[in-house]
Symmetry: C2
Subunit: 244 residues, 2 copies
Amino acid sequence: MKQNKYDDPEFFKQYSQMNRSVEGLSAAGEWSAFRKMFPNLKDKLVLDLGCGFGWHCRYARQQQARSVVGVDISEKMLARARELTDDSAIEYYRLAMEEVDFPADEFDVVVSSLALHYVEDFQSICQKVYRYLMPGGSFVLSVEHPIFTARAAQDWYYSAEGERLYWPVDDYQKEGLRQTQFLGMDVEKYHRSIATYFNTVIRAGFRVTEVSEPEPTPEAMAKYPEMQDEYRRPMFLMMVAVKD
Amino acid sequence: MKQNKYDDPEFFKQYSQMNRSVEGLSAAGEWSAFRKMFPNLKDKLVLDLGCGFGWHCRYARQQQARSVVGVDISEKMLARARELTDDSAIEYYRLAMEEVDFPADEFDVVVSSLALHYVEDFQSICQKVYRYLMPGGSFVLSVEHPIFTARAAQDWYYSAEGERLYWPVDDYQKEGLRQTQFLGMDVEKYHRSIATYFNTVIRAGFRVTEVSEPEPTPEAMAKYPEMQDEYRRPMFLMMVAVKD
């Protein structure tokens, strides 16, 4: 079975207490940038891979998407998603992202927010998403940035006084599994280079139309002054890839 | 006037002694990866922006390009290029890359090797290159990697014993001028994020078809064991962008 960390009771509890879990998209630092990358969702058929609590699914419906399918491996995440959702046009499926299977040309937009760095076989997912999308459809994705995932430690280098000196990069070209810590617990992630992210998307047939390494907004900076450090290294890599 | 460091006599002398300056492309660690990104050059009209000693110009003719134009700001570099070239199908022009002006649809392939990180206005160059290329033409470019250019120091973080601990990243989102050192002398470079490199190329009209962050080859590793550290962080970002 694929990693299903979010069904670990302690991890789920910790994750559920994060700002983004309580307040939703508005509390996610990268959301203002990610949102701008979405195409017009009105009347669209949308798939969300790694939907978690379903925030992006409900957002798509607020934007008048015709219907939304959310997929996640975690029963606990989906249970909460269903609690938070009162909308018959949103369906949630419990599946690993690698196991999804839909007919060709089924969706207009496929979204995946901060989930694909948990997946070992990115190529297979890109190929599937390309098939599921109608011509003209968009794949809008965000992952933890390769600068962020290169070292398993995923942390700053500190002075003896605890000051954040630099963001250390190492092992960049060594792609694959990283045994990392998130919310104080062991989590498996996969590091891929920037070249691999782009080439995999391109070789699946897509045209990359936009790339983002978002910075904190002035509003987020005012609310969370510790975000100052987010100017020092990118934490997220986002792109829009179109099936043309 | 644009920076013309290569006409500084001491800098030119130092640069002329680098392996890549003496032995040519085979001594450039990134060449085996860059070469693979070239389209078939047979009968093609080629432009090289920042041609330096003209190694890529002569390579293009070896690959049976019909004609090649090499552009460089440095008189000294071009004087050496001309000495090394005995081929009436190669023309060298002394110009800053920003000042180049050709008719539309003039070239099949535009190459730029490790020159564009010296340029402040990357957007204007991308727009020009797009115009100069015929439909179906390719822009094949390499730059110092944003991970490499983020900090002006452009160096490893060392232990007290001189061991390379990791590659430090800082100031990543702060694009623009970096006062760096190269060959022991002051050189001005421009840091741009990965998102900016991609979006600028894409917004000029191109389709990105390939990306590379090259690693040393096994042969290079055998010859230069210190290249081991090149696996730890990428030094170059390369891409192919097509006018389709």
